[in-house]
Amino acid sequence: MFEKDKEFLLDQVDRDRDLLVHFLSRFVRARSPNPPGDTREAAACVTDFLKERGLDFRIVSPHPEMPNVIASFDCGAPGRHLVLNGHMDVFPLPRLDGWAHDPWGGEVSEGKVWGAGSCDMKQGTTSILFAYAYLHAMRERLKGKLTLTAVSDEETFGPWGARYLMEHCPEIHGDCCFNAEPGAPTTVRIGEKAPLWITFTVRAADAASGRAGEKESAVKIASRLIGDLERIAELDVQLPPRVAEAIETGSEEIDRVHLRGAAEIMGKFTLNIGMFEGGSRADMPAETCRFEADIRLPFGMTKQPVFDLIGNILKDYPTASMEVVMDDATPDWSDPDHEIVRYVQRNAKAVAGRDVLPIPSLAGTDARLWRYVGIPAYSYGTTATNVAMPNEHVDIEEWISVVKTHLLTIYDYLSAD
């Protein structure tokens, strides 16, 4: 019976291939860069789809421009509750030049769907949305409960999306979370490094010359401070053995998918200076300068060594101050031997002949929020191509194979005893 069901599900995906592409293209055109994070048009794509199929849903919108869509159904027999998670907001454009395709056009060409958010992660959200609808149609034959969450405010780890739902809607916690963020179809991600976000503000200081009233530009001081902060990347790390093993085993694949060096920084602290701004014109000393530090904590480590180091560095910068934007993330991971991992491995092999390795992830996803409350959470998706870069796209052939893998994996989870 299972094999027949699976064949039927795969046939539906093949039959709906154009529909899937068409939906994704329209979803990309419903631009939703965050900031500012307005996802109303994108959410309408999701709710229109659900309405057309007669599927119930509700909107939880603590912020008027950032709705979250929740849909849920009970299966024919009791069982476990699986929660699907995807987001509808996308990164803003990194730069306006360099795009060969309209970043908001949702263009379909060369076997790809192009545009900002096409990969991260409107394709993933589309995939679990369709999976939800297909499985709803055969719910009587399944066990447990399936919940779909299509959320806002992920790209900034903001308060109005999954964070709000986890706190105020405990019914979406479930027994396991399956997230569709892009990464690589050869890896299932079991955990992620934790972002630690700090904003630094530097004021101009009296110049070393000692000349009355002469100031040293705040930008100059900030540039020295940034140089010193690069020492964060050299902090000692003790990785937990399970994670170290997963990185070791997957290192070749990690480097192949995310370019050389990716496996190495999995086990390190990293520092990104996201924004850097100050002053107004060349000949006026910049009075203040502000920059943002996006630090990622590796597995097994806390924020403490980072704060200790920064505290020491700041002693040399009397006109610099810092404001912690977010420091509540921890580098959590879920059991690499969980059944979801096995289902993904089995189905990826069956659908596309792929071997899948459980590895940790560099980038953050909302899956972490389920791990924080003790629920195992896994991410599986297409190759992350040009995310936050010009010419972001998703390869349709690969995507369809991932849609199928998602679908069969969810089916397996809701069929298991």
């Binding site: 454009l93 530009s217 002053g279 910049a286």
Partner: protein, 414 residues
Amino acid sequence: MTAELLTAWIDQDRDRLAGFLADLVRAPSPYPDGNTSRAAAVVSRYLAEVGLEVSEVGSAVDHPNLVSSLSMGDGGQHIVLNGRLETYPAADGGKWNHDPFGGIIDKGDIYGRGASDMKAGTAALAIAYGYLSRLGKSLNGRLTFTAVSEVGTSGSAYLLEKGGVKGDCLLSAEPGEAPATIGFGEKGSLKLRFATRTMGCHGAYTHKSKSANKLAANLIRSLEEITKLKAAPSGNVLRLLEQYGAEFDRVAGPGASRSLGEYTVNIGFIQGGVKMNMLPAACDCDVDIGIPIGGSLADAMETAHKIAARIPEVDVSSIYSDEPNWSDPDYPLLRALKDSCGQVTGRSASVVTTSRPSAARHWRAAGVPSFSFGTTATNVGLADERTSIDEWVDVIKIQALSLYALLDRSSSHV
């Protein structure tokens, strides 16, 4: 006798004169994003009140140049007075203790954008010009007052090329870096934009792309090497820098004279990245390199390019450039300013270079010896820009006495 008369007039009119300066500060003229029409109208009105005709000469819409000229007879020199109407923008609005356009006088200081740079100087020149006109018969030569809008090439450059205003020498009133300083030259300026471009990517993938922001920070740290360049002033300028260096140190604090002969690097503007968790693909940085007398643009340019060339992702473009320039330190106007300063304040004036480029460079380039004497620059371009009224009144007196000394029929100055 006449000198005493001039100072008596100025003391007597003190409140009315301060009122004129306050009115001028109340007429905003920020540049960019503003115009100088209202400020020009305030100056024109003052000159009309003291019976002087003024005409508008210029080519820029909303940025007039004012010119008023008095011919006192054959012989003697033609001295041009050069004021400026536009100011820095009034940024940092929240930090001002007094409305930047309120023209408020508090504890003897007048506050506002332009109160120091250089509405005080422009008003002082207009006032000195007005009093000199009262002495018409006892003077010879010619006196031309100008108040220009230095916008592109439509200010002093326009007056020199198309406005028929040149003269034998020029007196400006730019604020000085310390009290009682006579500007005889200017550091040069090289303004560069450094554009850093990388691929950029997601902020967690720091191995994937170089960071435009980190490269820019690295570049900025390296640009300090420019301050190590050596300037090589020659002849009487070197002698002058040595002579007044000690004096400048005494007036403005130990080490101050080094600013006269050193290359400086100001990082004025930076803008990089889009968002906290995106690795930045672009960062733009504007830098102003000050070039001392005896230094050269070419040296600064070469070093800046050499530093930038170490980072292939950095592209350099020039926004603005000006060679350092100076006038003969033995010129009569400079001597007259020194003498008058001693007479009015009892202190001797120092002869210095200014670090901010001013319109005087245009006149020097045209072969006109140019000197500047103004109040102390206080918070120029910053919040609570201001000028001491006492010091300002002294500056008016010193300017008036110096002009009188040069234009007096019985004077030995030529």
